[in-house]
């Protein structure tokens, strides 16, 4: 069995930053990534990020990935990577098991772990919601922005949060027609600058609307939508039809953190953080000692905060296992301040209420 100082599970924005910050503190880090490339969902984010300079604002997500990977390469003396490897178990004795290339099993016993496993897309219930042609918005983004393949000819987007709005814009950039964006909520959930960007391209945004039914034989051919009232109940005689071959479901994400449950970390369902999340302390350490968490796995937020959480968790995890850097306090305060700034506006209120419920101080 291998041994390691610090294992970071997941090489997305949170995991990369956790590894960078821990390696800079002098800890030996092993990053385990299930894909063949780093970056997580950054690899398909062709738009410029919000935030401030410190979170690479105004840089496209695809380029932020390159920046982080290059920074990691500079720290090669302290960093090892294991690609195409999925962590499949975390056990009471501190051992984690890894499936490498869907073929070999490994066991590792690290001193500490940062779980940065990200999130998965939520689904929506309606008749025939399993027809091919109905995809997660993130899936469509992967298909067109990573592989350069158009998902179809005409798209109906369900969900006017940031992902729904951004992916609609990106579909148009790829030359695909977006017929409309719907959202059951009475207001647009995403940033209104994104909404305006879509609107001025002539795409309608239908709030208080939901999918009534999908129609198609082998693949999606038509979608029937209708209005909903303030209790989200469908209103009869308000149906509209859209002849589309693609429907994107973008109704939010849920933290992907079964490994933490498996390990026995205390979990709590927190709607503001979009699902079941681990109870943690200010250092991003869960109820199990030396098991840390960062990014969407501990609550759905923007990638900018996921990166800062990663830096913070990596710093704290390294310190916990004996690699407390000289500027630990300064760095810690700086990351805290960045997170405070990102969350202090109206958009961050919900997140702060959520965090309040899971942080033991």
């Amino acid at each position: 069995m291998k041994e390691a100082d610090l294992v970071v599970i997941g090489g997305g924005p949170a995991g990369l930053c956790a590894a960078i910050s821990a390696a800079k503190s002098g800890s030996k880090v092993l990053i385990i990534e299930r894909n063949k490339d780093f970056g997580g969902q950054l690899v398909k984010q062709t738009h410029m990020f919000f935030g401030s300079e410190k979170q690479y604002a105004s840089t496209r997500g695809i380029d932020i990935k390159e920046i982080l990977v290059n920074e990691l390469k500079m720290l090669y003396e302290n960093v090892k990577v294991m690609m195409d490897s999925t962590v499949v178990g975390m056990y009471e004795d501190g051992v984690i098991t890894i499936l490498h290339k869907e073929d070999n099993y490994f066991k590792i016993k690290p001193k500490a772990i940062v779980v940065a496993t990200g999130a998965f897309e939520k689904y929506l219930a309606f008749p025939n919601n399993d027809l091919p042609g109905i995809y997660g918005a993130g899936a469509v983004q992967t298909l067109m922005n990573v592989y350069g393949v158009k998902p179809g000819k005409k798209v109906l987007m369900v969900g006017a949060g940031n992902i729904g709005l951004i992916v609609s814009y990106q579909l148009m950039q790829a030359g695909v027609e977006v017929v409309a964006i719907l959202d059951a909520a009475p207001k647009i959930g995403g940033y209104l600058v994104h909404a305006s960007k879509i609107r001025r391209m002539g795409v309608p945004i239908l709030t208080s609307h939901t999918v009534k039914e999908a129609i198609g034989k082998d693949c999606l051919e038509k979608v029937i939508v209708c209005k909903v009232n303030d209790k989200f109940e469908q209103i009869s005689d308000t149906e509209k039809e859209f002849n589309v071959d693609v429907m994107c479901i973008s109704v939010g994400l849920t933290p992907l953190n079964e490994l933490l449950s498996m390990r026995g970390c205390e979990m709590k369902y927190v709607p503001q953080l979009s699902g079941s999340v681990p109870v943690r302390n200010d250092n991003y350490e869960t109820s199990i000692e030396n098991v840390f968490v960062a990014g969407d796995a501990c609550g759905i937020e923007e990638a900018s905060s996921a990166m800062v959480e990663g830096y913070l968790a990596g710093l704290c995890a390294a310190a916990k296992i004996g690699h407390k850097s000289n500027d630990y306090e300064v760095k810690r305060a700086e990351f805290e301040k960045q997170l405070y700034n990102l969350r202090s506006g109206p958009v961050g209120q919900k997140i702060l209420i959520g965090i309040e419920q899971i942080v033991n101080r």
């Binding site: 935030g51 604002a57 647009i188 600058v193 700034n341």
Partner: protein, 162 residues
């Protein structure tokens, strides 16, 4: 309504525009950022201290129209593509407008394209004066168009016929 449609009201738009007198003196930025979000690259990009977000990065940016030279550096830096430059100094009948445009095909110089409003409706023909797409704009080209002055407050986008 804005939060249902993504289309700002006339009053909201007017609040973001400088007075006509300032527009007639030369190019100036109109920052159509209406809601508080954690974002401040416009402030970082501006070397003339003309755009201020302040210490709370969630604040809505404020433009000092007197400091603004209309250089347009903020246009390609804004992740929300919320900024445009208007210039009424060239003629009494037309205005020049600079907008970010991230689609293909790009228009050509002197081409007549369709001028669209904030809802994507065609309002007027627009003549393309310049297409700027240097590396520093990071794939957000800036298109300068000339339109009839009466559409100053309505123009927000263009459509290039394929």
């Amino acid at each position: 309504m804005f939060e249902q449609t993504g289309i700002p009201s006339k009053d909201m738009i007017m609040e973001k525009f400088p007075l006509v007198d300032r527009i007639n003196r030369g190019p100036v930025a109109v920052v159509e950022c209406y809601k508080e979000i954690p974002c401040n690259p416009c402030q970082t990009a501006c070397k003339l201290d003309a755009i201020k977000v302040g210490t709370d990065i969630n604040s809505v940016p404020k433009v000092n129209f007197e400091n603004c030279s209309g250089c347009g550096i903020c246009l390609s830096k804004c992740p929300g593509l919320a900024i445009m430059i208007v210039d009424g100094s060239k003629s009494n009948y037309t205005v020049e407008v600079k907008i970010p445009y991230e689609f293909l095909p790009l228009p050509k110089k002197d081409e007549i394209v369709k001028g669209l409003d904030r809802e994507g409706n065609y309002i007027t023909d627009a003549k393309v004066l310049k297409i700027l797409n240097p590396k520093s704009f990071d794939r957000t080209p800036i298109i300068t168009i000339e339109i009839d002055r009466k559409y100053l407050y309505d123009i927000r986008n263009i459509k290039v016929e394929v």
